[in-house]
Amino acid sequence: MAQAQGLGRRYIKAFFKGFFVAVPVTVTFLDRVACVARVEGASMQPSLNPGGREASDVVLLNHWSIRNYDVQRGDIVSLVSSVSFWRSIPFATYTWCLNVVCLFLLRSPRNPEQKIIKRVIALEGDIIKTIGYKKKYVKVPHGHIWVEGDHHGHSFDSNAFGPVSLGLLHARATHILWPPQRWQKLQPMLPPERKPLHREQE
């Protein structure tokens, strides 16, 4: 009897020891190094989700490479959305595949922290020509970037809400992991017609 009690206590101790090691390390890894997410929506077609809703792409998001906020023009990045909306099916959002379960489940449905995935078109200091924004030419302010989806007209991006603060940068999408026939490394590619008119930094 005493031996079984001792064994139970040992298991409980081992469980808590493992819990306090495994959970913080996993959470820190998913927050700071890399995580995986599924892309929804059509705003990044044809680069992401060319098959539409039947076959969503799963991308690898790299937090570590943007820890100093250095992005290039043409990178595909994920941002914390500055506009809260509950159902955003027409635009590219993505849901987490692996996440901190309790925090995600307790998130208020009124204001979920949506993440949007777009391509960086211009950095701070660049002057670009906009598509459908309230001003025809915009100089991107200091500490901000201009992002756009590849599928113009079906994208909720900087042409709708203006330049985005670099503090909202979440991760850079580096690889497509699923489906297997679309395994590839995502290269930074800037469409030639979207090049900035004047570059501040070279």
């Binding site: 959470v27 500055s82 925090l103 998130r107 200091h142 500490g143 603060s165």
Partner: protein, 207 residues
């Protein structure tokens, strides 16, 4: 190699000791020292990673201690005050009007600013300076907050850079640590007299 152990009880213990001594002399001294040092280094690295991860989770999801600098929140928060910030309100969307929040600067993502929330999304705020004759108002857009410092004359806040996205908020300040360190000009002088002063905690008044 080495001699086989014959006895397991105390009587044969001296043979065991001799066997161990003989075996130990096989491995060179510096090899053993290197193995010990490597083991200690790996253990140290493991503990550092583990406690670093726990610290990250605590700061990100619970809260932490922040040192504020600058005059823009006087008289509520003085220069080089120590405050406690909690991150739970941000994750559960409980930031209210009148809270003092820590926010990533919209123009420089590597620095943080500390201001009071004057308006949430949909609120009507006054965008002009107090010295202007004609007042102008606007509505805070969805997903943004309007921040102002308590020291309106000496504060760059939303009146300069506009409404701030909610996603930039890092935490809410809940407690201020009232110390007497501010009496001294430089920190070295203050540290020598630290044991003479008491630390008082006071709840920051949030309307």
């Amino acid at each position: 190699m080495g001699a086989r152990v014959v006895g397991t009880c105390g009587a044969g213990g001296w043979r065991r000791a001799r066997w161990r001594a003989g075996r130990a002399s096989w491995a060179p001294y510096h090899c053993r020292m290197l193995r010990n040092a490597l083991g200690k280094a790996f253990r140290f690295l493991g503990y550092t990673v583990q406690y670093g991860c726990i610290a990250h989770c605590a700061f990100e999801y619970l809260g932490g201690i922040v040192v504020c600098s600058g005059p823009s929140m006087e008289p509520t928060i003085q220069n080089s005050d120590i405050v406690f910030s909690e991150s739970l309100s941000r994750h559960f969307y409980c930031i209210r009007k009148g809270d003092i929040v820590i926010v990533k600067s919209p123009n420089d993502p590597k620095s943080n600013i500390c201001k009071r929330v004057i308006g949430l999304e949909g609120d009507k705020v006054c965008t002009s300076n107090p010295s202007d004759f004609l007042k102008s108002h606007s509505y805070v857009p969805k997903g943004h907050v309007w921040l102002e410092g308590d020291n309106l004359r000496n504060s760059t806040d939303s009146r300069c850079y506009g409404p701030v996205p909610y996603g930039l908020i890092r935490g809410r300040i809940c407690l201020k640590c009232r110390t007497q360190l501010g009496l001294y000009e430089n920190v070295e002088h203050a540290a020598a007299h630290f044991n003479c002063y008491s630390l008082n905690f006071c709840l920051l008044y949030t309307p």
